[in-house]
Amino acid sequence: MTRLALVALTLPFLAFLLLALVPPLRRRGRAAGLVSIAAVGGALAAALALWRVPVGAPAVGVWEWIPADAGPLVTVGLYVDPISQAMLVLVTLVALLVQVYSLAYLDEERAPALGRYYAYQSLFAFSMLGLVLAPNFVQLFVFWELVGLCSYLLIGFWYDRPAAARAAVKAFWTTRLGDVGLIIGIVLLWRATGTFDFATLFELAGGGRLPAGLALTMFLIYLGAAGKSAQFPLHVWLPDAMEGPTPVSALIHAATMVTAGVFLVTRAFQLFAAAPAVLALIAWVGAFTALLAATMACVENDIKRVLAYSTVSQLGYMMAAAGAGAPDAGFLHLLTHGVFKALLFLAAGAVVHAVGTNDIRQMGRLFRALPQTGIVFLVGTLALAGVWPLSGFFSKEAVLAGVWAAHLRVPFLMLALTAFLTAVYMFRVVLVAFFGRVEAGGHPHDAPPPMAVPLWVLAVLTLAIGARLALRGGETAHPPGWLTSLSVGLAAAGILLALLMYQVRVVSPAAVSRALAPLDFAARRRYGIDALYGALYRGLLLGFSWLIGWIDRYLVDGVLNVLSALTLRAGDRLRRIQSGQAQDYVYGVAFGLLALLIVSRLWR
């Protein structure tokens, strides 16, 4: 069983090595893409085969990495349990579809750049799989950083665009901020328990033998997760990450990178459970992030940014569920969201590809021009809005149920409001872009097959997962009866409001923004968080450089100047001893003789 996992893990890595070490292949572009696709396709097959194997206890295959006297300090290996099985499938599936899609999407890219792109993609898939399969915190951290690196590379894929380069750096730094917490947390955890291994840690947690006072440790680990999963206040990088190619956004938002944080919390939930305060914090921050991002999504005009904010918002959902003690619900939402968010992004990419702009105000009546894209986008939107019987409905309901069951009233209200807002802003996009009255310029047409097929696959999967969940019924949670009506009601109300505002135009959007002027003002400026960070960053950096400059100029240089002046002056003084007159040197001889005489008297 671990062998299958190993196959899934190594195939993308082999593809990466091949592309990285064989430049002729990489420079071929499409050929490189096919290699990468074949590898990830194989990985998907292995993941599916592995998925069919029922797992009782987690299967662990371990090799020694850092030996130590009392058993190996760190191991590398594979940890296969239902969570990693599902993640494997999700990651390889989305990666495969994204890579296929990219073939057409990046058609105009130069061949070497395309080869580079696929090398990154393979490495990204490998990193994420390694992260998912990690049996201990050290391996997890290594792959965690690899994921960060890959997202940096891919977001900055068009590195000659300043905005893309900035966004890549921003993503890297922001997540790194959380990662500092993560690595400190990991080391603290090791100090407290003496092990990195999940299996051992879970055993301890299961037996209630975890040492007390883990709150700080778990909080630090959560910081890492918050950075990767774009939780407030570390969410700022995700919308900017839209500067990368759209398939990359799909990959980052659906299957890799941002899911890593949620995955970490899910994976280590038993450890988090030992620190209830941290769990509550996770829930509150998650719910707050969800609401905050939803409001920002409502005022955003860039189609990809709307989706980015919706991702932040949905990640808030997942985190809130985990914080409320329902990690299964959060994880379910992670899976369903992964599928339909990939669908939405790829569809948005098709739209952008066809229209040539990101701004929904310049789109309209696209449904006629792009019927296929329109349909799949609508499917994704309905799923995201939480309409029965699509997949998003069930996972969202599970999350809400979990939060309600944890008696977190305020977060529950925030999440419910978010559900409403989600429906509003998603339908705003759909109505404006696909049914709006503005005529889009040019002659947009539906995407070519390499792009269309992944869209349809994802759309069908969204429906299928929904259907399967509907048939199985509330297996993961037992929501109170009113919750289903509430969910559906919220989604319906949101859709209705969007229709009234943007289609029937009974309610003027301008009037709404006037009515909510302060909120509107703040949301349009991203609540000033980005500006605040920018100012802080600049202020700190400038202040620090000023301080260093001052120290250098006055302290360091001062010391050196004084030293050099002293040396010069001393040299000048000493120089005068060398009068050049032999007789003065004879004085020296005489003094030397005197000194000898005196010394000979003193030391007898």
Binding site: Q583, Y587, A590, F591, L593, L594, L597, I598, S600, R601
Partner: protein
Amino acid sequence: MTLETGAFWGLAAVLLASSLAVVLTRNLFHSVLYLAVAIVATGGVFLLLDAAFLFGVQLLLYAGGVVTIVVFAIMLTERLVGEGIGQTSRYLINGAVVSVAVFVGVLLFVGQAPLPAARRPLGADVTRALGELLLTRYVLAFELLAVLLVTALLGALYLARTDE
């Protein structure tokens, strides 16, 4: 007061006086003459110390050789300059202080040094003993000295040669 004591004090007085004159006289030529006196007085001290041969050497080499050379040099330079060479001193006080300090230092050193009190017997013929030593124990140094003298002679000639 034995003959030796009297002679010592007399010679010492002459030696010190002429030495001071060498150092302090304004006329360089007079300086050289005083040096001759001092050298002869030193030779007398050698006589007191039973070194008659050394007295002879001192007279011949120093008084006869060195002083003559110096006189020649003075005359030569004076001829070149075309005027009498004055002889002045610089920082006389400083020099005196340092010299006195060195003298006092040596005195203090000598004061506590264990010196033999009386003369030890010195063989019958000192000159003969010297000759034997020079040609036996110190024959190498003796020969090297000859080389040195030749070298110095050639060197002096080379340095003092006139450009053609």
